[in-house]
Symmetry: C2
């Protein structure tokens, strides 16, 4: 059985590495022939809108999935091959306004927001939602790109200058106690599994450190209830992630990702079945695997430059994941994972590793 | 950095899957273009004696290793590229007489044996070593192939008829309490790590079930002492395995394998760092990883036919490894691994799985 994957980044690469032991084959389509997945599986180098290559991918695959939420929905139409998760779920996640409306429709608490299509819309949004706030492009934003922060009304002009050419979302800036995410999967037969809540530390809009499990049973159940609603709404097949702000013990949905997620990378060593294996199982129509954590895990992203391999591996118990990418400032090049026997031991271990792996980051 | 691997079987395939996360690339050489490793990495299809292709492999690699102990030693000579482990270690493991002499030289207790090059040698060996015994070809034996058992003097003629064309080893059949193996690795800088002892269940000369950790601290230390001697004797770089019979608390070396070993497959999920990652780390000149077990693991080989994938994966906590091989009677097609919280829970779990995964096998 061959799984076709549109997008061949590190997520696709880790999907293939998780799926090979199950006896599955992979075929990727990516704009770059040097994409990380192309180093571990065959890859068709083509634009995401190249119908001929997309049809070739589908013809050579039993099911098609994607590793990037900005794959054009149109590209996945009429391939003559099942696409999992569905285009409807992908479409909702691609547009911040659709995403907010979905959260509201499913009674998942989210930030206050306004659709902004004109300078006048922006003024009204500022009045109605207030400040501070964030102006975001509705589409194609990730890792903090396509966003401008507004602290006072004077920031509106510059934000509009920079982003106003595209449809926008104006969103209150929620003061939060911490950020979490929940990763879960739904199988083709409707069964659902959840991973424990992940505590995320961001800097400059980029995820830097994730620790899991985190939070109370109450918070876990709440997050599961929200994620379940989205999974069932779309009859979703695959892994889905929702990021939340936590404030005074309440969850406020920030955004969702219709795919495996950076905050779930710790599951490779830290859970019985990784998020990557569970996504592959789901899209291949196989039963989902156990998500039980194997201890207290932490994941540290390696951004911009890779530390020397031999130095990282000299640390006992540190697992390295090098995505095989060319270094570039701000680029996610790899990650490290540790699994400890207690949350306290894990946090102390992370603090010892950060000066070497992410010197600009401190964890609370 | 590219690691060239001569032999592209399931061991090579699992070496590549363990090495990709470290950012390493792989290139294989195997007689069959459909070899399991060729499904996850580039592969040169050529005979193991094809000098031109071997030189191409070496030219495109930074270091060369092998996944099969019967690669001709001559094939690895003069490649202009480091070969790890060394040809000397490979040569010793390829010839049962060299192997026995090595064990004796290093004061590692082994079975009583005689070199057999003629019918007269065989008669003398029977007199001096006694019966029951096993007559084995000195070279190219694996998984019970090239062996004949002698219970009485009347079995000698048939055994000689079948095997006498090749140089042979006559070896006492040791009555044993159980069989164990130890897997360890030596890095280029001389540092050494050991995995816990593995308890092995064979049938028809083929490994069927491994459970680890097993045995007392005393037995573990004894096995480590023996393995260390071999590793240091060869200034070995990579993973090495010794199989022992255990009788009355004593270890009797059966044979060694200069490579990752079927009895070490459980380390993928059952230890902090797998035998595959540690072999790759060693040959790449990187520091070795922690070998601590993560619980009580069992590995069940899937022989001859694969059970339906969806049924295997429906068992919570069962990890599947499908090597992507065509089914054939007696062929190792894959394995399953479980990790439990106690030896007792693990054994009970194995007993529940065996009727489905290996119906002809019972574990003691």
């Amino acid at each position: 059985m061959t799984i076709g994957i549109v997008g061949g980044g590190q997520l696709g690469r880790m999907l293939a590495l998780a799926g090979y032991p199950l006896g599955l084959d992979f075929l990727f389509l990516d704009r770059s022939p040097d994409a990380p997945a192309g180093q571990v599986a065959p890859l068709l180098a083509a634009d995401f809108a190249d119908r001929a290559r997309l049809r070739e991918l589908a013809a050579r695959s039993d099911v098609v999935t994607f590793d990037w939420e900005n794959v054009p929905v149109e590209s996945l139409r009429g391939l003559g091959c099942p696409v999992r998760p569905s285009r409807a779920a992908l479409a909702a996640a691609q547009d911040r306004v659709s995403e907010k409306r979905l959260f509201e429709r499913l009674a998942i608490p989210t930030t206050r927001w306004r659709n902004v299509e004109s300078r006048r819309d922006l003024e009204r949004a500022m009045r109605e939602v207030g400040l501070p706030a964030v102006l975001k492009t509705r589409r194609l934003g990730y890792d903090g790109k396509g966003q401008a922060r507004l602290d006072t009304a004077r920031d509106a002009e510059a934000a509009w200058e920079r982003l106003g050419a595209a449809p926008l979302l104006y969103e209150e800036l929620v003061p939060f106690d911490f950020e979490v995410s929940i990763v879960g999967a739904r199988a083709a037969d409707g069964s659902i599994v959840f991973y424990p809540l992940c505590l995320n530390t961001h800097a400059g809009g980029i995820l830097r450190v994730t620790r899991a499990p985190h939070g109370s049973t109450r918070l876990q159940r709440l997050a599961e209830r929200h994620l379940r609603r989205v999974l069932e709404h779309f009859r979703y097949v695959g892994v889905l992630t929702i990021e939340f702000f936590v404030r005074d013990g309440r969850l406020i949905a920030n955004e969702m990702a219709p795919r495996v997620h950076n905050s779930g990378h710790w599951t490779i060593e830290g859970a019985v079945t990784s998020q990557f294996e569970n996504h592959v199982r789901a899209v291949a129509g196989l039963p989902l695997g156990e998500t039980r954590p194997l201890g207290y895990a932490a994941m540290i992203n390696l951004i911009g430059r890779m530390p020397p391999r031999a130095r990282v591996l000299a640390h006992p118990g540190v697992h390295l994941h090098d995505y095989g990418k060319e270094p570039r400032p701000g680029r996610k090049l790899g990650h490290c994972t540790i699994v400890a026997a207690s949350a306290r031991a894990r946090d102390a271990w992370v603090r010892r590793l950060l000066p070497e792996l992410a010197p600009d980051i401190r964890i609370p």
